[in-house]
Symmetry: C2
Subunit: 313 residues, 2 copies
């Protein structure tokens, strides 16, 4: 008998990770490549790799689950995603459905990560939590009363596009001062770029040809003053935004995920401080700040595949 599998695809601003997952949540196959410039190319490339893997292992594909920035669960579309090169409204679920000949379900990438954490990660048994993905942008997936919050339009969870500073940095969405222009892997790079230009502080970052969240974290770990200040600033901005988010949704935990979260305590310790400092009295010392314990790409792939395996939960 063939092993039935669901495909889980996590489309990010930089990379697309995907894999095959069985009903027990075991990742049987996975792969990753840079996210292509067009949706057609994306579907074609994923199809090529997965159909070969399916054929060679004698699997039977039952469905395709997709997590993507600006993903709309209700319509199966990606709509005006500022961090992808895809333009306008892309009917990606339908495109995958056509390619593979099985049903395809799409949701926001952060929602997929939240489902992954709830099924297999640190959010097991939690009914109210939020996953914050700190990658190219800032994504968020809210679980309320045990269900992913999609909202009326299917677009709930755009925390990255709440405004931190109305006169602030230009955002890919066309507005100014969105949270993700400060709090994301890209955001902390912009912060350092700004300060390197403005200040004369000595910093190892001045010697780097390319600044990345990783190189800033490395510099901070070595005690670089400017890099440490960048983590302090990023944590303050994120702590304030999360304190407001707690006031609205009262989660049990905030789960950090993605590139910038890999900085670990460099981010988590000042973040916890600023979150507590800004929380309304009744929420103080109640909200856990956790890091995903799933491997970088796994939560999102498993979460995306869960859209198929747990469609009727």
């Amino acid at each position: 008998m063939k092993t039935t599998v669901a495909a889980g695809i996590d489309i990010g601003g930089t990379n697309t990770a995907f894999g095959l997952v069985n009903a027990e949540g075991t990742l049987l196959f996975q792969s990753v490549f840079p996210t292509p410039d067009t949706p057609e190319e994306l579907v074609q490339n994923v199809f090529k790799v997965l159909s070969t893997a399916i054929a060679t292992s004698n699997y039977q594909l039952v469905g395709v689950g997709i997590g993507a920035p600006n993903g709309n669960f209700y319509n199966g579309t990606i709509e005006f995603a500022p961090n992808l090169k895809f333009t306008g409204i892309v009917p990606l679920a339908a495109m995958f459905q056509e390619a593979f000949g099985v049903s395809a379900v799409l949701t926001n990438d952060a929602n997929a990560a939240a489902i992954g954490e709830m099924q297999f990660g640190v959010a097991k048994g939690m009914n109210n939590f939020v996953v914050v993905t700190l990658g190219t942008g800032l994504g968020s997936g809210f679980v309320c009363n045990g269900n992913v919050l999609y909202g009326h339009d299917g677009f709930a969870g755009e925390l990255g596009h709440t405004i931190y500073d109305y006169e602030g940095r230009l955002c890919g969405c066309g507005r100014k001062g969105c949270l993700e222009t400060y709090c994301s892997a890209t955001g902390i790079v912009r912060t350092c770029q700004e300060w390197l230009a403005k200040e004369t502080t000595a910093s190892v970052l001045r010697n780097l040809s390319t600044l990345t969240a990783k190189s800033i974290a490395d510099a901070a770990a070595q005690g670089d003053e400017l890099a440490l200040k960048a983590f302090e600033f990023t944590s303050m901005v994120l702590g304030r935004a999360l304190a407001d988010t707690v006031a609205i949704t009262s989660p049990e935990a905030i789960i950090l995920f993605g590139g910038l979260a890999n900085a670990g305590d460099l981010l988590a310790i000042p973040l916890k401080h600023h979150l507590e400092a800004n929380l309304l009295h009744i929420f103080k010392n109640k909200v856990k700040v956790l890091r995903s314990n799933l491997k970088e790409a796994d939560a999102a792939i498993l979460g995306a595949a869960s859209l198929i395996w747990h469609a009727n939960d």
Copy 2:
């Protein structure tokens, strides 16, 4: 046979409105008095009025539903309510239960209003919306996937205590710049007080012994420049906060309720403008801004009573 009724009690920073509601949602009796300084006095006064009404009309009381600021649904308590004179944690549901000898359920006042709107008001048939009460403070009740959002702690919906300005006005909660210090019946009074002190603009508000949201609305309706500017400013602040709220929860509608909402188009028209101006692209021209069509106190009383009648929906 006796008519079975549930008591619905809406505790506000200024007044407490309460009544008796049958299973069909008809308000059979209602009354209102200024909210007393202690919970004991509150329970005693409500008990006196309702037990008389019940006895004279031959009703049978099946339960007591309570809406209150900082109300915790899970614990039946009011906790550290900045807009009430009650201090600390008050086990109000237990106190009502003891007085009446029937079960009592308590929730946030704005949640009670949201339930009232969903059962009997403009939110009939909606699964995702938010009720914003603009009274002494700013309360909010979120309905997500057809259920009131209580969150992990039972305190979700404290939109009034998200921060608008970190260097801003002192709030009753002890922090600075909370949204409700700007956007509430009290907030617009503070705005006018500040400007009357700072500016020399002629205004009919200078001749009033007491400023209220109502007197400011009356002045604005007569074309008073300062009063109109206060509505414009309040709408801008609220529009920005609601745009962020939409990004997180993606509601079908925002329903305005309470003292300041009675200003009607004076608030609603500039609010709609500022909301749209601040919304992320994907949410533009989708979110309805509605006014409650229930009588001032009715939605909250009916909503509170619904906690009993629809406890197992």
